[in-house]
């Protein structure tokens, strides 16, 4: 019987034939951490070892609170920089790089067939390029630094067969929200999610990153697209190492297959306070918002900023709304400067922030007071995540965010086309 991409990638790493349900021990290709490296370093020290085992596999990206918002964060960053120097870690990205989940693909770490683990729940993003990528805990990360080894349970796979075509004004983000809304935030608990079907190759690498990123909100361990010509072309000039692409066999065994036709899909929004509380934008249109956030590891790429700029160009942000724009990385920042997207956003009255997580995790740069409402292009809308307990977060696509920024109320982006 054939194998899924996940079974093949983990089997190759483990050096044996593996099937879903089995537990394997592997030496990962890369181990990611971010500002939480400060806490991981403390765990690592407790292990009583001086040196990490494989310095070249450790990738640290400062992105969560950059630049440091207070002394505590500054101290964390300092201790990380010192550790990087002490251990001679070659892959360190300081506060002028971007969000880890954008930096790793851009910098050619996220490659087909690799095993990447990270102490961040949105590590599955790298599946967009055909890697096996999964989130792990902090203690496990410290132990992996020390041993260059981690155990993983080979997940069963849910295949989502995409057919049809997205209509204008409808994006990968709407698809992910619709799927989570229909099937619940645990629809893929501990599973691999394969995005496949005749429409899968139509998705840009950016859109694939959005979908793989949002697979974490389905409960998935990893989410991926088979690496095709589009992915390989995108990797040209970026890939840091040779790689061997892997895809599922035609007769692979899936736990379930979910068909989805894109033709009828409308813009969606996740309402407070869970990601699976999803409605069509039309159902909540008119809801006033105080703030709009365009950015994050889910939707802060060039195509996202351009989708927002297409609506905001020549228009003004509504006077009662604050609009925060955060390019996902410095590379995106520079590209958006070059393309004119950033100029259009600034002219419209948006505030541009340094590449990083911004207010997404509720630490700095635009937190909400009680009773305030933000429409955000991020991936989580849990109560209090972006400020006061009694503030509200709606999740949507960058186009919906831009339309909402102009109108001051949740608005269907198709009204601007």
């Amino acid at each position: 019987m054939g194998k899924t991409l996940t079974e093949k990638v983990l089997g190759r790493k483990a050096g044996q034939d593996v099937v879903a349900g089995e537990v394997v021990s592997v030496s990962p290709d890369y181990v990611l951490s971010h500002d939480n490296s400060a806490a991981i370093i403390q765990e690592f020290r407790k292990l009583g070892v001086r040196k990490v085992k494989a310095p070249g596999k450790i990738v640290i990206v400062l992105d969560h609170i950059v630049p440091a918002a207070d002394e505590k964060y500054a101290q964390n960053h300092k201790s990380i920089r010192e550790f990087v120097a002490e251990q001679g870690l070659p892959h360190f990205f300081d506060i002028n790089a971007g969000i880890c989940h954008q930096v790793l693909p851009e910098q050619g770490f996220a490659l087909p067939g690799l095993v990447i683990v990270g102490s961040d729940s949105h590590t599955p993003s790298y599946g967009a390029l055909g890697a096996f990528a999964a989130g792990i805990g902090r203690t496990e990360t410290a132990c992996t630094w020390a041993t260059d080894e981690i155990w993983l349970r080979v997940p069963e796979t849910l295949r989502i067969d995409l057919a049809g075509r997205l209509r204008p004004g409808v994006f990968a983000k709407d698809l992910s929200l619709k799927l989570i809304g229909d099937h619940g935030a645990e629809m893929a608990n501990y599973k691999a999610v394969e995005f496949a079907g005749p429409a899968a190759p139509d998705f840009s690498v950016g859109a694939r990153l959005t979908l793989a990123n949002m697979s974490a909100e389905m409960g998935a361990k990893n989410g991926y697209f088979a690496p095709d010509d589009k992915a390989l072309k995108w990797l040209e000039g970026r890939a840091r190492a040779p790689f061997v692409p892997v895809a599922s066999d035609p007769d692979a065994s899936y736990e379930s297959v979910l068909p989805f036709n894109l033709d009828g899909l409308e813009p969606q929004v996740a309402c407070p306070h869970t990601v699976d509380n999803v409605k069509p934008v039309a159902a909540v249109a008119g809801k006033p918002v105080d703030q709009v956030l365009i950015g994050t590891c889910t939707n802060g790429r060039l195509e996202d900023l351009e989708a927002a700029a297409a609506i905001l160009k020549g228009r003004r942000v509504h006077p009662s709304v604050r609009v925060l724009v955060i390019p996902a990385s410095w590379q995106v920042y520079r590209e958006a400067l070059g393309s004119g997207a950033l100029a259009a956003l600034v002219e419209a009255g948006c505030v541009i922030l340094n590449s990083g997580c911004g207010p997404c995790l509720g630490a700095h740069e635009g937190l909400m007071a009680a009773g305030e409402v933000t429409l955000s292009t991020s991936n989580r809308n849990f109560r209090g995540r972006m400020g006061h307990r009694d503030s509200e977060i709606y999740l949507a696509s960058p186009a919906t965010a831009a339309a909402t920024a102009v109108a001051g109320r949740i608005t269907d982006p198709r009204e601007f086309s």
Binding site: S25, V49, E140, C143, A146, T147, N189, Y190, K221
Partner: protein, 170 residues
């Protein structure tokens, strides 16, 4: 290899009934946690469980919160392993990382009932009972090492101690 008796439960045994939330923010030793194991599901369990006993359950064992005590309390109560149709994601990782074997076997769950004597062989991937021998994919040696060492931290420390000695010999 060990012999114990089966404690059989159904689907969706969640972390709240394995280790009640009202105790989660009290600092307790593992032995104190063991007294409350499965308290809200089966009050007879903690009083009567013997070292080497095995929990057999249905789907999605350990769903709910990520509290590590829900694995620690069973291990401290002497539970040799949990055999289930499936486990909640975080529970599975927590259990192995604190040294509690978790094994998936539909056949064993179908056949076994409370009170059945069972042997468990992790290395060979076998559950043996009067009702038959049920096979599961054996765990890799490093994971058996984690369980044998009593958890990921102890295992890693032991491995590293070996490495330091090697380093000194180089």
């Amino acid at each position: 290899m060990s012999r114990g008796l089966v404690w059989k439960y159904g689907d969706n045994v969640n972390t709240d009934v394995i280790f009640p939330g009202r105790y989660t923010y009290q600092i307790m030793t593992p032995e104190e946690m063991a007294v409350h194991a499965l308290e809200d599901l089966d009050p007879a369990f903690a009083k009567n469980v013997r070292p080497g006993d095995v929990i057999v359950a249905g789907k999605n064992f350990g769903s709910g919160s990520s509290r590590e005590q829900a694995a620690t309390c069973l291990k401290a109560a002497g539970v040799r392993a949990v055999v289930a149709r499936s486990f909640a994601r975080i529970y599975f990782r927590n259990a192995i990382n604190i040294g509690l074997p978790v094994v998936q076997s539909d056949e064993a769950v179908d056949a076994l009932e409370t009170g059945d004597p069972v042997d468990l062989d992790l290395g060979r991937g076998e559950i043996r009972s009067a009702k038959g021998t049920f096979r599961f994919r054996p765990l890799p040696p490093s994971v058996i090492g984690i369980i044998a060492a009593g958890g990921l931290i102890e295992y890693t420390k032991a491995r590293l101690a070996d490495r330091e000695i090697e380093d000194q010999q180089e």
